[in-house]
């Protein structure tokens, strides 16, 4: 029988309980959040073994042409987490394309008042590619080489 999956109430990743296995793991660094568009991107970043923090799944990227604004994504919840949970760094790991970059700029601006460090994965990933197709090494290098985002 297939186990029932639920959406994590904290990070919106897919899991088997109200808290996903990553949010429930005390060995994961709670002060760093990796922001991704989709639960599949969590799997991609996990495979790279380069990240020991926690996640936040936006449920997409800002896409004016598709009518997707911040209110259609889990942006408010991210702001809430950063303000509440003493987050030191937010790594924006959205796809390296127009929408992903716009999302990174938007988050950097929205988080500015909190003083949290906002970084973007390095451009080792070619523009237009989907994160979920990146091999572990490429994604790992992109995470290691992340840079601050200007708001």
């Amino acid at each position: 029988m297939k186990e029932r999956t639920v959406i994590c109430s904290v990070c919106f990743n897919i899991g088997l309980a109200e808290l996903c296995s990553i949010c429930a793991d005390p060995k994961r660094d709670p002060s760093i959040i990796c922001v991704v568009e989709d639960p599949r991107d969590v799997i991609a970043v996990e495979k790279s073994s380069s990240f020991r923090g926690r996640y936040h799944v936006l449920g997409g990227a800002l896409s004016p042409l598709e009518g997707i604004g911040a209110e259609q994504l889990h942006v408010r919840e991210l702001l809430g987490r950063v303000e509440r949970d003493h987050i030191a760094e937010v790594i924006v790991c959205t796809n390296p394309n127009l929408e992903g970059d716009a999302t990174a700029m938007y988050l950097s601006r929205a988080l500015k008042h909190t003083g949290v460090r906002v970084t973007r994965i390095a451009s080792g990933l070619p523009v237009g590619a989907d994160l979920e197709y990146a091999d572990e090494q490429t994604l790992g290098r992109a995470l290691d080489g992340r840079r601050d985002v200007d708001a």
């Binding site: 800002l62 004016p64 042409l65 598709e66 009518g67 604004g69 911040a70 209110e71 942006v75 408010r76 919840e77 702001l79 809430g80 950063v82 303000e83 394309n97 127009l98 970059d101 716009a102 700029m105 938007y106 601006r109 929205a110 990933l125 070619p126 523009v127 237009g128 590619a129 989907d130 197709y133 990146a134 091999d135 490429t138 200007d150």
Partner: protein, 243 residues
């Protein structure tokens, strides 16, 4: 004649299957083209980056029965300054949406293409807050439904213009007024844009006049399209409250 070459601006892309995208491109010679870009979502793809929305490209296509196939792409301009500034990216996205909505496949004029490229280059160079309003008014002119700025749309008299109505298709005098009331400054800015004073109009600073003209210009475009625009000027700069 199965292969063709053209320049174009990428308006939008949608995912197709596992790793492909359908790319919508406005060209001067072939109108609005929809073409498949194969494998562009794979990390090893060399043409993926070149077929993002808001990219000016030179391309080679293979004509297919339903959709064409992009075989080669060279980048002419990526509009880097627009992409790295949310205040410019919003208006640029709105321009792409309008152009996509105003054309059907294989249609579109060289004039429309030229208008889009010029507006994007202008936005890239100056960040003028007037760009979107000017683009909308010029687009309506290209479409043959430009608003009259010198006389009342309804009675045709050269009275002072005090209102704008998208349904009437232009500015109205005091006697005929309906729709949105407008200040003399707004009418003057529209006049400059529509009759050869664009360069000077683009130096107008951000403020209520520019915002009012942008509102009526986008509403006139929406009336022409018979559809609300999805993109809005402030979509990318709106604040979000924490939850």
């Amino acid at each position: 004649m199965a292969n063709y070459r053209d320049t174009g601006v990428v308006l939008r892309t949608i995912r197709l299957g596992e790793a492909d995208r359908i790319v919508t491109i406005l060209t001067p010679e072939h109108g609005k083209v929809r073409a498949v870009a194969k494998g562009v979502r794979k990390v090893k793809s060399r043409i993926g980056a070149r077929l993002e929305p808001l990219t000016h490209v030179d391309m080679l296509c293979w004509r297919g029965r339903e959709l064409d196939i992009v075989t080669q792409v060279e980048v002419v301009d990526v509009f880097r300054a627009i992409r790295s500034d949310l205040a410019r990216l919003g208006p640029a996205m709105t321009m792409l949406e309008i152009v996509d909505q105003v054309t059907v496949d294989h249609q579109g004029s060289p004039a429309l293409y030229t208008l889009l490229v010029r507006a994007l280059r202008s936005l890239e160079a100056t960040a003028s807050p007037v760009t979107l309003a000017a683009f909308c008014l010029k687009l309506l002119m290209v479409e043959g439904v430009g608003p009259s700025v010198d006389f009342c749309t309804h009675c045709g008299r050269e009275e002072p213009l005090v209102a704008f109505d998208a349904g009437e298709g232009g500015f109205l005098c005091h006697a005929c007024r309906r729709g949105q009331a407008v200040s003399p400054e707004v009418v003057d800015l529209a006049k400059r844009i529509c009759s050869g004073g664009l360069a000077r109009a683009l130096t107008e600073p951000e403020g209520p006049t520019v915002e009012a003209l942008e509102r009526i210009a986008t509403s006139a475009v929406e009336h022409h399209l018979d559809r609300r625009l999805r993109t809005t000027r402030h979509q990318l700069t709106e604040e979000t409250t924490p939850a």
